[in-house]
């Protein structure tokens, strides 16, 4: 209940406040979105596994976003930004896939 409410509040805030994203941060936004999705899928899987922990969820989400953005930022400074962001997306994508597969096994028993 409160989870759905939180999600709705976040979407509404994002839609209506439309915070002005600084130009320096814009390149890292897609990576942050992928990292956030990874954290959400991990949380859902943990919930279905019965080992969910709210503190782990929030901390892992924040750290994922920050670390992913940091890696890409570092890559940009070194001139390999696009390669590193590809790497981050691949790793997070694999994790999202395996978590989604685990969720599917829980839900459909298959």
């Amino acid at each position: 209940m409160i989870a759905v409410l939180g999600l709705v509040i976040g979407v509404v805030v994002g839609l209506f406040v439309q915070p002005e994203v600084p130009d320096a941060v814009v390149p890292y936004l897609p990576i942050a979105v992928v990292a956030a999705l990874d954290a959400v899928f991990g949380a859902v899987r943990a919930m279905l596994d019965g080992i969910f922990n709210d503190k782990v969820f929030v901390v892992s989400f924040l750290s994922n976003v920050v670390v992913a953005a940091l890696i890409v930022f570092l890559g940009d400074q070194l001139g390999v930004g696009s390669q590193l962001s590809t790497g981050v997306v691949v790793v997070l994508g694999i994790r999202i896939f395996s978590n989604a597969a685990a969720i599917r096994r829980h839900v459909f028993r298959a």
Binding site: V11, L29, A43, I51, N53, D54, F97
Partner: protein, 352 residues
Amino acid sequence: MSLLTNVMDHGLDEGYAEAAAARGGARDSRIPRTARGLLTLGAGLALVGAVVTVGAVNARKAEPTLAKERDALIHRINDSNGSADRLQKQVQDLRRKVDDTQQQALPSGGGDAAGLAGAVGLGEVTGPGVKLVLEDAAGTGLGGNVDPRAGQGFSNSGRLRDRDLQLVVNGLWGAGAEAVSINGQRLTALSAIRAAGEAVLVDNRPLVPPYTVLAIGDGPKVLDAFEGEMAGSYLRLLQEKYGIKSTLSVQKSLTLPAAVGVTLRTAQPATPEPTPTPTSTAAPTATPTEASTATPGTPISPSASVSPSASAGGGSGSGRRTPSGAAKTTSAHSPTTASTGPSSAGTGAARP
């Protein structure tokens, strides 16, 4: 492989397992029960929702910006096209004005600059004639789009060369053509057909095959004469030996454009006069437009005036004012011709 297996096997954050172990292995914690836990979960999900939404909104916001830039570019292109059209129109107007002034500057009875312009290649001409299309042999791999670096060049004998084209054009002149153009390039007495690298150039402009040679003249007569003379048999030989295709046809009406970058100047050393004084005679008729007068008496023979000596003769017309120099000299000088500066135009304008 260990990296891949690591990524594949540890999809779930290890923090969850550790926290569960710390709680004593209880595997029933699905949703936090405490108010604080619920609040943390809600705040975390709100954050996730906000990040994802902001990302989506930002991605969509970039689209109109790109579209706007594209529109601006299109606008600039249209503007530039418009101004180019205006300038083109201005050029045409000015050219017409120059023609008019040239006509006015001619002394009465001095001649017809417009008619002369058509004859020497400086004016557009229309009339019946013949059309000759020359195409490189199939399989030379060039066709419409010449890539100078990819082709085998003229070592490939299936390609038409500059001297073939020279021969053909000379043949057309010889067959009675009055005006000739190649791929829209009007030939004047000063035109050069030559090769540079892999391309055939006419007046330093590269041509792209197929080569379309238009010649104005008495169509059937020119065709017969051309077929009968050396150039015609040369073309047949090219077709037989190398597969260079050529089609010659009579056309009812052809329009040949004017040559560009050539200034029309004529000179008329008229009545023989043994001791002329150039300075006094040059003054009255020298006109600001550099247009001077001439009566194009004898028909212009392009093959004769192609030679450098003919063009030099036009420049030094007043100097050769001997009784034998009564022959009317007509030539079109390109601005780049060394011997014809403004000064020589002045002497060319000299009339006794």
